[in-house]
Symmetry: C2
Subunit: 347 residues, 2 copies
């Protein structure tokens, strides 16, 4: 029998950041697809849309009027999942029913007054203003004493549940450390306690040597497909130096981060020649007042598309009930993204 190989044979890979496995079925990409196809949204949008609740000067459903902002803008989400002023309390029954009130707040981060743009179409200098605002929000929200975790993220595309194409992201800040960041907290702490080094810095060294999963890099950041990626074209942007949170970035690093964010999303758009949907977010140290030398900031991109602009990977059935599963290898995905141009297909 042939030798076991990543490219040809079903296998599992371990994700040391969260302590879980991902099942890889490289041979399965060949199956025909007869299921649901997504709509391509390629209508040309106006620079300003009267009916958009994020465009400058428009009135939102609650009667508030948006400021005449010129670059970026943030405000408290009108339909926030987390609230600041709630009565606190908890509930417990035989250790099996357990609940606790959860304080927090949710903000919307508007990336640009231009309704018709997306990150890959924005100038790097303008994306840097988004990074600056993220840093400000992380610091401000994180300094409140009831906020121990700040999650910065972006949902892009209707297929990702994004209800407005105006370029924007969100920040959810809260009392508890959410499940996934908590797993990363534990894994990085254990690694740091054991080796005195950061898990992701050690990981990056391996990737820099192997080069196989690296997509591109600039002076301060590397973009790669993690060995344990779940989504078909899942990617990660990692700083080259130790950095536990975004407020540690220098001006130059913020510009380099904006550059990486743009180049990553341009490649995504070019992959299937469409406005590539994804959820992306930054994982970084909790804002619990402790030092977190174990934490390495990283930005994850979780895009659903698998084969084309209209065929996505469904995380259902087996994946929801048993185990994450993917049909192409991380190495194959990296190779495809690496060979793409960094000039946006729309020109």
């Amino acid at each position: 029998m042939a030798k076991f190989s990543f490219e040809d044979h079903p296998h599992r890979r371990y994700n040391p950041l969260i302590g879980e496995w991902i099942q890889v079925s490289p041979h399965r990409a060949k199956r025909p697809w007869q299921g649901q196809v997504e709509k391509i949204e390629e209508e040309k949008r106006p620079e300003h849309d009267e009916s958009c609740y994020l465009c400058a000067r428009n009135t939102r459903a609650n009667g508030e009027v948006n400021p005449d902002y010129q670059d970026v803008w943030s405000f408290k989400n009108d339909f926030a999942s987390l609230l600041e002023d709630i009565p606190t309390g908890s509930f417990e029954k035989d250790g099996l029913l357990k609940a606790e009130s959860e304080r927090g707040l949710c903000k919307v981060i508007v990336f640009s007054p231009r309704h018709d743009l997306t990150v890959p179409e924005m100038p790097t200098a303008d994306i840097k203003k988004v990074v600056d605002l993220w840093a400000k929000e992380y610091a401000e929200l994180g300094s409140k004493d009831f906020i121990n975790h700040v999650q910065i993220f972006e949902n892009k595309g209707a297929v990702m549940g994004c209800s407005n194409p105006h370029p924007h992201g969100q920040v959810w800040a809260q009392e508890s450390i959410p499940d996934i960041p908590m797993k990363k907290q534990k894994a990085q702490s254990a690694h740091y306690a054991d080796k005195g080094t950061s898990l992701l810095m050690d990981y990056l060294k391996i990737e820099q040597k192997e080069q196989e999963r690296i997509i591109f890099e600039n002076d301060h950041f590397v973009a790669l497909i993690p060995f344990w990626a779940v989504w078909p074209f899942e990617a990660m942007i990692l700083p080259k130096r130790a950095m536990s949170n975004i407020s540690e970035m220098t001006e130059e690093e913020r510009l380099a981060f904006a550059d990486a964010y743009k180049r990553m999303t341009v490649r995504y758009d070019n992959l299937f020649q469409c406005s590539f949907p994804y959820s992306a977010g930054i994982h970084q140290a909790p804002t619990d007042g402790q030092a977190h030398p174990e934490w390495q900031l990283h930005m994850s991109f979780l895009p659903p598309l698998l084969r084309s602009a209209t065929v996505k990977k469904f995380m259902v059935g087996y994946e929801l009930l048993a185990n994450a599963q993917r049909d192409i290898t991380a190495e194959g995905a990296a190779a495809r993204l690496r060979e793409l141009s960094e000039k946006h297909y729309k020109g």
Copy 2:
């Protein structure tokens, strides 16, 4: 300030089966929805479809001809994610890159020769044949010595990535215990070691006393919304007696299980008057040759719809990166499902 209440205030609930939290934002169901809406698929299907690869007597893409089956039928998936005959091997680098070959096999379980039916429209006696086949597959696949876990599941509806409306499910059997069943294994073992009782039997007792989250029951099974449910109308069917796997069910219990499966899915269809999409699956003891007194079989239903036949809950952004989140309470969802008729809306 008002007292903390589940119905009004954001809170977290603990899932003792997997050791994770779910964030509940009961007030958030009020936000307007301007995002993607799903297509309703209500075309009338023929009883037999020439182009369906699951209908009796049809020829599949690989040239095989389907048997003239009369009730249920199973066969090896033509595009299996897991394969039996692969070279074995493993890979490791500094504890950070870790992979292992994974043997297994995937089968398709066809529920009925009728292309136009779904489980809620099938007679209970015919659904019992599906249960019988599940029991047979669990026992047969589980007895192979390279199979330690058997995942039985059903993806229903195009929105759940199901590529064929012909009523069917799948079985993925494999060497390793997948991530979610492994978490349930650990939690149930710990509870059993600690208390000498089964976690889910103890949980059921609380629910039977409170009644608040119970949807319906029959002589042998209870259908409820778990206290820690993630999906808006997530439900669980639990046996009333200790039962680690499906081969332990008596004839009478299998019929009662079929009855519960039907009644649950009829209520689902009636909720938004549509063919209700979901992923469902049975979690049960691993087939690793060990006794598993800690394990209690249960069937989980994970349906995506939130507000109507066309508006689903998107598990994106915050949910993918940080924490599961829901907008209605388990108690509210149970109340709505409880009050629905068990007569299918199509009559």
